[in-house]
Protein backbone atom coordinates (compact mmCIF):
# COMPACT_ATOMS: atom_id res chain seq x y z
CA UNK A 1 0.00 0.00 0.00
CA UNK A 2 1.39 3.35 -1.09
CA UNK A 3 1.39 6.42 1.12
CA UNK A 4 2.61 9.93 0.53
CA UNK A 5 4.00 11.23 3.78
CA UNK A 6 4.70 14.80 4.83
CA UNK A 7 7.85 14.40 6.87
CA UNK A 8 10.81 12.06 6.99
CA UNK A 9 10.08 11.59 10.71
CA UNK A 10 6.65 10.12 10.05
CA UNK A 11 8.06 8.06 7.20
CA UNK A 12 10.51 6.17 9.42
CA UNK A 13 8.37 6.12 12.57
CA UNK A 14 7.47 2.44 12.18
CA UNK A 15 11.05 1.13 12.10
CA UNK A 16 11.53 -1.19 15.06
CA UNK A 17 14.57 -2.11 17.14
CA UNK A 18 16.35 -5.09 15.64
CA UNK A 19 15.27 -4.35 12.06
CA UNK A 20 17.34 -5.01 8.99
CA UNK A 21 17.50 -1.72 7.11
CA UNK A 22 18.84 -1.34 3.59
CA UNK A 23 20.18 2.10 2.81
CA UNK A 24 20.73 3.12 -0.80
CA UNK A 25 23.67 5.06 -2.10
CA UNK A 26 27.22 4.52 -3.27
CA UNK A 27 29.36 7.05 -1.46
CA UNK A 28 27.16 10.10 -1.22
CA UNK A 29 25.41 9.60 -4.57
CA UNK A 30 21.91 8.31 -3.94
CA UNK A 31 22.34 8.26 -0.19
CA UNK A 32 19.07 9.30 1.50
CA UNK A 33 20.64 11.59 4.09
CA UNK A 34 17.39 13.06 5.38
CA UNK A 35 15.85 9.63 5.93
CA UNK A 36 18.98 8.47 7.73
CA UNK A 37 18.85 11.55 9.94
CA UNK A 38 15.22 10.74 10.69
CA UNK A 39 16.17 7.15 11.51
CA UNK A 40 18.71 8.61 13.92
CA UNK A 41 16.04 10.77 15.55
CA UNK A 42 13.45 7.98 15.79
CA UNK A 43 15.64 6.06 18.17
CA UNK A 44 15.50 2.58 16.59
CA UNK A 45 18.51 0.55 17.69
CA UNK A 46 20.13 -2.85 17.36
CA UNK A 47 19.90 -2.42 13.60
CA UNK A 48 21.45 -4.49 10.85
CA UNK A 49 22.32 -2.08 8.07
CA UNK A 50 22.92 -3.06 4.45
CA UNK A 51 24.81 -0.41 2.50
CA UNK A 52 27.79 -0.53 0.16
CA UNK A 53 29.90 1.46 2.60
CA UNK A 54 29.97 1.99 6.35
CA UNK A 55 29.48 5.71 6.50
CA UNK A 56 31.71 8.63 5.66
CA UNK A 57 32.65 11.69 7.68
CA UNK A 58 30.36 12.85 10.48
CA UNK A 59 26.99 12.54 8.83
CA UNK A 60 24.30 10.06 7.90
CA UNK A 61 25.17 6.42 8.38
CA UNK A 62 28.50 7.31 10.00
CA UNK A 63 26.65 9.14 12.75
CA UNK A 64 24.22 6.25 13.24
CA UNK A 65 27.22 3.96 13.71
CA UNK A 66 28.95 6.43 16.04
CA UNK A 67 25.86 6.48 18.26
CA UNK A 68 25.96 2.71 18.64
CA UNK A 69 22.64 2.08 16.92
CA UNK A 70 24.02 -0.38 14.38
CA UNK A 71 24.66 -3.90 15.61
CA UNK A 72 25.85 -5.24 12.28
CA UNK A 73 26.96 -3.87 8.92
CA UNK A 74 26.56 -5.86 5.72
CA UNK A 75 28.70 -4.05 3.14
CA UNK A 76 31.46 -4.38 0.57
CA UNK A 77 33.71 -1.43 1.37
CA UNK A 78 33.73 -0.26 4.99
CA UNK A 79 37.25 1.16 5.02
CA UNK A 80 37.55 4.64 3.56
CA UNK A 81 39.69 7.65 4.31
CA UNK A 82 36.89 9.19 6.35
CA UNK A 83 35.19 6.11 7.82
CA UNK A 84 36.60 6.86 11.30
CA UNK A 85 33.41 6.12 13.21
CA UNK A 86 33.08 2.64 11.75
CA UNK A 87 36.81 2.04 12.21
CA UNK A 88 36.60 2.94 15.89
CA UNK A 89 33.56 0.75 16.56
CA UNK A 90 35.08 -2.13 14.64
CA UNK A 91 38.38 -1.99 16.50
CA UNK A 92 36.49 -1.74 19.77
CA UNK A 93 34.60 -4.91 18.84
CA UNK A 94 31.32 -3.02 19.08
CA UNK A 95 30.02 -3.69 15.60
CA UNK A 96 29.72 -6.86 13.59
CA UNK A 97 30.84 -6.84 9.94
CA UNK A 98 29.65 -9.13 7.16
CA UNK A 99 31.97 -8.27 4.30
CA UNK A 100 30.47 -9.12 0.92
CA UNK A 101 31.99 -8.64 -2.55
CA UNK A 102 30.04 -5.79 -4.11
CA UNK A 103 28.62 -7.90 -6.91
CA UNK A 104 27.47 -10.54 -4.45
CA UNK A 105 25.90 -7.79 -2.38
CA UNK A 106 23.98 -6.53 -5.41
CA UNK A 107 23.02 -10.00 -6.64
CA UNK A 108 21.94 -11.18 -3.18
CA UNK A 109 19.74 -8.11 -2.78
CA UNK A 110 18.33 -8.69 -6.26
CA UNK A 111 17.70 -12.36 -5.40
CA UNK A 112 15.64 -11.36 -2.36
CA UNK A 113 13.39 -9.17 -4.50
CA UNK A 114 13.11 -11.75 -7.27
CA UNK A 115 12.19 -14.73 -5.07
CA UNK A 116 15.43 -16.62 -5.67
CA UNK A 117 16.38 -18.82 -2.71
CA UNK A 118 20.09 -18.88 -3.49
CA UNK A 119 22.54 -18.94 -6.39
CA UNK A 120 26.02 -19.99 -7.43
CA UNK A 121 28.60 -17.42 -8.52
CA UNK A 122 32.32 -17.67 -9.33
CA UNK A 123 32.99 -14.44 -7.40
CA UNK A 124 34.96 -15.07 -4.24
CA UNK A 125 35.83 -18.68 -5.01
CA UNK A 126 39.13 -19.64 -3.37
CA UNK A 127 39.16 -16.54 -1.16
CA UNK A 128 38.65 -16.08 2.57
CA UNK A 129 35.23 -14.54 1.85
CA UNK A 130 34.01 -17.92 0.59
CA UNK A 131 35.37 -19.91 3.53
CA UNK A 132 32.85 -22.42 4.84
CA UNK A 133 30.51 -21.87 1.90
CA UNK A 134 29.26 -24.59 -0.40
CA UNK A 135 31.09 -24.75 -3.74
CA UNK A 136 30.23 -26.48 -6.98
CA UNK A 137 31.75 -26.82 -10.44
CA UNK A 138 29.27 -25.33 -12.92
CA UNK A 139 29.82 -24.26 -16.54
CA UNK A 140 33.46 -25.26 -16.08
CA UNK A 141 34.03 -22.83 -13.20
CA UNK A 142 34.14 -23.34 -9.46
CA UNK A 143 31.31 -21.38 -7.92
CA UNK A 144 30.17 -20.41 -4.44
CA UNK A 145 26.63 -20.67 -3.05
CA UNK A 146 25.20 -17.35 -1.92
CA UNK A 147 21.84 -16.60 -0.33
CA UNK A 148 19.45 -13.65 -0.64
CA UNK A 149 19.61 -10.61 1.65
CA UNK A 150 16.11 -9.65 2.74
CA UNK A 151 15.28 -6.52 4.67
CA UNK A 152 12.47 -5.17 6.79
CA UNK A 153 12.90 -1.66 5.46
CA UNK A 154 14.68 0.07 2.61
CA UNK A 155 15.54 3.76 2.73
CA UNK A 156 16.33 5.04 -0.74
CA UNK A 157 16.57 8.24 -2.70
CA UNK A 158 15.11 8.86 -6.13
CA UNK A 159 14.70 11.91 -8.32
CA UNK A 160 10.94 11.82 -8.95
CA UNK A 161 7.90 9.80 -7.95
CA UNK A 162 4.51 9.92 -9.62
CA UNK A 163 1.16 9.36 -7.91
CA UNK A 164 1.52 5.58 -8.36
CA UNK A 165 4.92 5.53 -6.68
CA UNK A 166 6.78 4.94 -9.92
CA UNK A 167 10.35 6.19 -9.60
CA UNK A 168 13.09 7.60 -11.78
CA UNK A 169 16.61 8.27 -10.57
CA UNK A 170 19.46 10.54 -11.58
CA UNK A 171 22.77 9.35 -13.09
CA UNK A 172 24.93 7.15 -10.84
CA UNK A 173 22.71 7.98 -7.86
CA UNK A 174 20.49 5.13 -9.13
CA UNK A 175 22.93 2.44 -7.88
CA UNK A 176 21.30 0.25 -5.18
CA UNK A 177 17.90 2.00 -5.14
CA UNK A 178 15.93 -0.24 -7.53
CA UNK A 179 17.14 -3.55 -6.10
CA UNK A 180 16.74 -2.48 -2.48
CA UNK A 181 13.21 -1.25 -3.18
CA UNK A 182 12.35 -4.76 -4.38
CA UNK A 183 14.13 -6.61 -1.57
CA UNK A 184 12.57 -4.89 1.44
CA UNK A 185 9.18 -5.57 2.99
CA UNK A 186 8.64 -1.82 3.35
CA UNK A 187 10.31 0.70 1.04
CA UNK A 188 10.58 4.36 1.98
CA UNK A 189 11.71 6.74 -0.73
CA UNK A 190 12.78 10.35 -0.50
CA UNK A 191 12.36 12.22 -3.75
CA UNK A 192 13.15 15.71 -4.95
CA UNK A 193 9.87 15.98 -6.78
CA UNK A 194 6.44 14.38 -6.85
CA UNK A 195 4.91 14.59 -10.32
CA UNK A 196 1.36 13.88 -11.51
CA UNK A 197 0.52 10.31 -12.47
CA UNK A 198 0.90 10.03 -16.21
CA UNK A 199 3.80 12.45 -16.50
CA UNK A 200 6.52 9.79 -16.37
CA UNK A 201 6.93 7.94 -19.66
CA UNK A 202 6.02 4.27 -18.94
CA UNK A 203 9.05 3.22 -21.02
CA UNK A 204 11.39 5.06 -18.65
CA UNK A 205 10.08 4.10 -15.21
CA UNK A 206 12.98 2.45 -13.36
CA UNK A 207 11.23 1.30 -10.18
CA UNK A 208 7.54 0.45 -10.65
CA UNK A 209 5.30 1.66 -7.83
CA UNK A 210 4.60 -1.91 -6.73
CA UNK A 211 7.92 -1.77 -4.87
CA UNK A 212 7.22 1.51 -3.08
CA UNK A 213 5.36 1.96 0.20
CA UNK A 214 6.13 5.47 1.43
CA UNK A 215 7.14 8.55 -0.51
CA UNK A 216 8.32 11.74 1.14
CA UNK A 217 9.42 14.84 -0.70
CA UNK A 218 12.60 16.36 0.64
CA UNK A 219 12.83 19.97 -0.38
CA UNK A 220 15.49 22.57 0.21
CA UNK A 221 19.13 22.42 -0.57
CA UNK A 222 20.61 19.03 -1.30
CA UNK A 223 23.12 17.98 1.29
CA UNK A 224 24.98 15.96 -1.27
CA UNK A 225 28.66 16.61 -1.23
CA UNK A 226 31.49 15.46 -3.36
CA UNK A 227 33.29 12.74 -1.50
Amino acid sequence: MLNFIDTVGEAVAGIKDGSTVMIGGFGNAGQPFELIDALMDCGAKDLTVVNNNAGQGDQGLALLIKEGRVRKMICSFPRQSDSWHFDAKFHAGEIELELVPQGNLAERIRAAGAGIGGFFTPTGYGTTLAEGKETRLLDGKWQVFETPIHADVALIKALKADGKGNLVYRKTARNFGPIMAAAAKHTIVQVSEIVPTGSLDPENVVTPGIYVNSVVRVGGTSREQVA
Binding site: P78, P122, G124, A173, V226
Partner: protein
Protein backbone atom coordinates in the same frame (compact mmCIF):
# COMPACT_ATOMS: atom_id res chain seq x y z
CA UNK B 1 68.71 -18.57 -21.63
CA UNK B 2 70.41 -15.68 -23.38
CA UNK B 3 71.26 -12.22 -22.10
CA UNK B 4 70.49 -10.55 -25.38
CA UNK B 5 68.11 -7.66 -25.01
CA UNK B 6 65.82 -8.14 -27.98
CA UNK B 7 62.76 -7.89 -25.72
CA UNK B 8 64.08 -4.77 -23.99
CA UNK B 9 61.87 -2.04 -25.42
CA UNK B 10 62.88 0.87 -23.23
CA UNK B 11 66.23 2.15 -21.96
CA UNK B 12 64.83 2.85 -18.51
CA UNK B 13 62.20 1.44 -16.19
CA UNK B 14 58.81 3.02 -16.88
CA UNK B 15 57.24 5.66 -14.67
CA UNK B 16 53.58 5.40 -13.68
CA UNK B 17 52.40 7.49 -16.60
CA UNK B 18 54.57 5.70 -19.13
CA UNK B 19 53.22 2.42 -17.84
CA UNK B 20 49.65 3.67 -18.12
CA UNK B 21 50.42 4.70 -21.70
CA UNK B 22 51.78 1.22 -22.43
CA UNK B 23 48.62 -0.43 -21.07
CA UNK B 24 46.43 1.97 -23.03
CA UNK B 25 48.26 1.12 -26.25
CA UNK B 26 47.56 -2.59 -25.73
CA UNK B 27 43.79 -2.22 -25.45
CA UNK B 28 42.10 -3.36 -28.65
CA UNK B 29 39.87 -0.87 -30.47
CA UNK B 30 36.21 -1.05 -29.52
CA UNK B 31 36.86 -2.68 -26.16
CA UNK B 32 34.71 -2.31 -23.07
CA UNK B 33 37.03 -1.67 -20.15
CA UNK B 34 36.88 -1.17 -16.40
CA UNK B 35 39.79 0.67 -14.82
CA UNK B 36 40.29 -0.04 -11.13
CA UNK B 37 40.69 2.61 -8.47
CA UNK B 38 44.15 4.20 -8.15
CA UNK B 39 46.94 3.67 -10.65
CA UNK B 40 44.78 1.94 -13.31
CA UNK B 41 42.70 5.12 -13.59
CA UNK B 42 45.71 6.80 -15.23
CA UNK B 43 45.21 4.56 -18.27
CA UNK B 44 42.21 6.63 -19.32
CA UNK B 45 44.52 9.60 -19.96
CA UNK B 46 46.15 7.72 -22.82
CA UNK B 47 43.19 6.17 -24.62
CA UNK B 48 42.76 7.72 -28.05
CA UNK B 49 39.54 8.64 -29.77
CA UNK B 50 40.39 6.21 -32.60
CA UNK B 51 40.48 3.36 -30.09
CA UNK B 52 36.78 3.96 -29.37
CA UNK B 53 37.04 2.44 -25.88
CA UNK B 54 33.93 2.43 -23.67
CA UNK B 55 34.66 2.75 -19.95
CA UNK B 56 32.47 1.01 -17.38
CA UNK B 57 32.18 2.13 -13.80
CA UNK B 58 30.78 -0.43 -11.39
CA UNK B 59 28.47 2.07 -9.70
CA UNK B 60 26.21 1.99 -12.70
CA UNK B 61 27.44 3.49 -15.95
CA UNK B 62 28.87 2.73 -19.36
CA UNK B 63 30.40 5.56 -21.37
CA UNK B 64 32.15 7.30 -18.51
CA UNK B 65 34.14 10.38 -19.50
CA UNK B 66 37.11 12.14 -17.91
CA UNK B 67 37.11 13.50 -14.37
CA UNK B 68 34.76 16.44 -13.94
CA UNK B 69 36.22 19.89 -13.41
CA UNK B 70 34.64 23.15 -12.25
CA UNK B 71 31.04 23.50 -13.34
CA UNK B 72 30.90 19.90 -14.50
CA UNK B 73 31.14 18.55 -10.95
CA UNK B 74 27.89 16.79 -10.00
CA UNK B 75 27.52 14.74 -6.83
CA UNK B 76 25.20 12.33 -8.67
CA UNK B 77 27.83 11.46 -11.28
CA UNK B 78 30.83 9.76 -9.72
CA UNK B 79 33.08 6.82 -10.46
CA UNK B 80 33.89 3.76 -8.36
CA UNK B 81 36.52 5.79 -6.52
CA UNK B 82 33.80 8.37 -5.69
CA UNK B 83 35.50 10.99 -7.87
CA UNK B 84 33.17 13.22 -9.93
CA UNK B 85 33.31 12.24 -13.59
CA UNK B 86 31.58 13.18 -16.83
CA UNK B 87 29.26 11.46 -19.27
CA UNK B 88 30.14 10.84 -22.93
CA UNK B 89 27.62 10.70 -25.81
CA UNK B 90 26.18 7.19 -25.95
CA UNK B 91 26.46 6.64 -22.20
CA UNK B 92 23.92 4.60 -20.23
CA UNK B 93 23.00 4.29 -16.56
CA UNK B 94 21.78 1.14 -14.79
CA UNK B 95 21.31 -0.16 -11.27
CA UNK B 96 23.89 -2.08 -9.29
CA UNK B 97 22.72 -5.60 -10.10
CA UNK B 98 22.68 -4.79 -13.80
CA UNK B 99 26.09 -3.16 -13.52
CA UNK B 100 27.63 -6.18 -11.84
CA UNK B 101 25.89 -8.49 -14.31
CA UNK B 102 28.01 -6.77 -16.95
CA UNK B 103 31.14 -7.55 -14.94
CA UNK B 104 30.21 -11.01 -13.73
CA UNK B 105 28.63 -12.18 -16.96
CA UNK B 106 31.93 -11.91 -18.83
CA UNK B 107 30.98 -8.91 -20.92
CA UNK B 108 33.93 -6.63 -20.13
CA UNK B 109 36.87 -7.21 -22.46
CA UNK B 110 39.47 -5.98 -20.01
CA UNK B 111 39.74 -4.78 -16.47
CA UNK B 112 42.92 -3.18 -15.18
CA UNK B 113 43.65 -3.63 -11.49
CA UNK B 114 46.38 -2.84 -9.01
CA UNK B 115 47.89 -5.69 -6.98
CA UNK B 116 49.88 -6.59 -3.89
CA UNK B 117 50.90 -9.88 -5.48
CA UNK B 118 50.31 -11.98 -8.58
CA UNK B 119 51.19 -15.67 -8.61
CA UNK B 120 52.78 -17.83 -11.30
CA UNK B 121 49.35 -19.21 -12.20
CA UNK B 122 47.63 -15.82 -12.30
CA UNK B 123 46.19 -15.75 -8.79
CA UNK B 124 45.57 -12.18 -7.72
CA UNK B 125 45.93 -10.62 -4.27
CA UNK B 126 44.90 -6.98 -4.17
CA UNK B 127 42.22 -6.40 -1.55
CA UNK B 128 43.61 -7.12 1.89
CA UNK B 129 47.02 -7.05 3.50
CA UNK B 130 46.00 -9.77 5.90
CA UNK B 131 47.21 -7.66 8.81
CA UNK B 132 45.18 -8.66 11.86
CA UNK B 133 44.11 -5.09 12.72
CA UNK B 134 43.30 -4.04 9.14
CA UNK B 135 39.65 -3.44 8.33
CA UNK B 136 38.94 -5.51 5.25
CA UNK B 137 37.26 -3.81 2.28
CA UNK B 138 36.74 -5.64 -0.99
CA UNK B 139 34.40 -3.53 -3.11
CA UNK B 140 34.09 -4.86 -6.65
CA UNK B 141 37.60 -6.29 -6.92
CA UNK B 142 36.58 -9.96 -6.75
CA UNK B 143 33.82 -9.46 -9.30
CA UNK B 144 36.17 -7.75 -11.74
CA UNK B 145 38.94 -10.29 -11.22
CA UNK B 146 36.58 -13.19 -11.81
CA UNK B 147 34.34 -11.71 -14.46
CA UNK B 148 36.38 -9.80 -17.04
CA UNK B 149 37.62 -11.64 -20.14
CA UNK B 150 41.14 -10.32 -19.53
CA UNK B 151 42.52 -9.08 -16.24
CA UNK B 152 45.53 -6.79 -16.57
CA UNK B 153 47.47 -5.93 -13.45
CA UNK B 154 49.49 -2.72 -13.09
CA UNK B 155 52.04 -2.58 -10.29
CA UNK B 156 55.68 -1.97 -9.51
CA UNK B 157 57.56 -5.24 -9.84
CA UNK B 158 59.16 -4.85 -6.41
CA UNK B 159 57.92 -3.71 -3.04
CA UNK B 160 59.68 -0.79 -1.35
CA UNK B 161 61.75 -3.42 0.38
CA UNK B 162 62.86 -4.81 -2.97
CA UNK B 163 60.82 -8.01 -2.85
CA UNK B 164 59.13 -9.27 -6.02
CA UNK B 165 55.34 -8.95 -6.12
CA UNK B 166 55.29 -11.61 -8.83
CA UNK B 167 55.50 -14.75 -6.72
CA UNK B 168 55.25 -18.53 -6.88
CA UNK B 169 52.23 -18.47 -4.57
CA UNK B 170 50.50 -15.47 -3.05
CA UNK B 171 50.99 -14.95 0.67
CA UNK B 172 48.41 -12.16 0.83
CA UNK B 173 44.71 -13.13 0.87
CA UNK B 174 43.47 -13.91 -2.65
CA UNK B 175 41.10 -11.79 -4.71
CA UNK B 176 40.69 -14.38 -7.44
CA UNK B 177 42.18 -17.67 -8.58
CA UNK B 178 44.01 -17.95 -11.91
CA UNK B 179 42.38 -14.83 -13.24
CA UNK B 180 45.28 -12.53 -14.23
CA UNK B 181 46.31 -12.68 -17.88
CA UNK B 182 48.91 -9.88 -18.00
CA UNK B 183 51.07 -8.04 -15.50
CA UNK B 184 52.37 -4.59 -16.40
CA UNK B 185 55.22 -3.44 -14.19
CA UNK B 186 57.83 -0.69 -14.28
CA UNK B 187 60.49 -3.23 -15.29
CA UNK B 188 58.66 -5.70 -17.54
CA UNK B 189 55.39 -6.96 -18.97
CA UNK B 190 54.49 -10.55 -18.08
CA UNK B 191 51.90 -12.86 -19.58
CA UNK B 192 50.43 -15.26 -17.04
CA UNK B 193 48.45 -18.38 -17.62
CA UNK B 194 48.26 -22.11 -17.02
CA UNK B 195 51.57 -22.57 -18.89
CA UNK B 196 53.51 -20.31 -16.55
CA UNK B 197 54.86 -16.79 -16.84
CA UNK B 198 56.29 -15.32 -20.02
CA UNK B 199 58.23 -12.06 -20.20
CA UNK B 200 56.89 -10.11 -23.15
CA UNK B 201 59.10 -7.08 -22.86
CA UNK B 202 61.49 -5.45 -20.42
CA UNK B 203 62.13 -1.82 -19.59
CA UNK B 204 65.68 -0.75 -18.75
CA UNK B 205 66.88 -4.25 -17.93
CA UNK B 206 67.49 -7.61 -19.52
CA UNK B 207 65.49 -10.79 -19.31
CA UNK B 208 68.17 -12.29 -17.09
CA UNK B 209 68.07 -9.31 -14.76
CA UNK B 210 64.32 -9.76 -14.45
CA UNK B 211 64.79 -13.47 -13.82
CA UNK B 212 67.18 -12.56 -10.97
CA UNK B 213 64.51 -10.42 -9.34
CA UNK B 214 61.59 -12.82 -9.68
CA UNK B 215 61.48 -16.05 -7.62
CA UNK B 216 59.96 -18.23 -10.30
CA UNK B 217 61.09 -19.63 -13.61
CA UNK B 218 60.30 -17.22 -16.44
CA UNK B 219 59.93 -17.87 -20.16
CA UNK B 220 60.94 -15.49 -22.90
CA UNK B 221 58.36 -14.35 -25.44
Amino acid sequence: MSTQTSIQTSEKPLGRDELAQRVARDIAPGSFVNLGIGQPTLVSNYLTEEQNITLHTENGMLGMGPAAVGEEIDGDLINAGKIPVTELPGASYFHHADSFAIMRGGHLDICVLGAFQVSATGDLANWHTGAPDAIPAVGGAMDLATGAKDVFVMMTLLTREGVSKLVEQCTYPLTGVGCVTRVYTDKAVFLTGPDGVTVRETFGCTFDEIQELVPLSLKKA
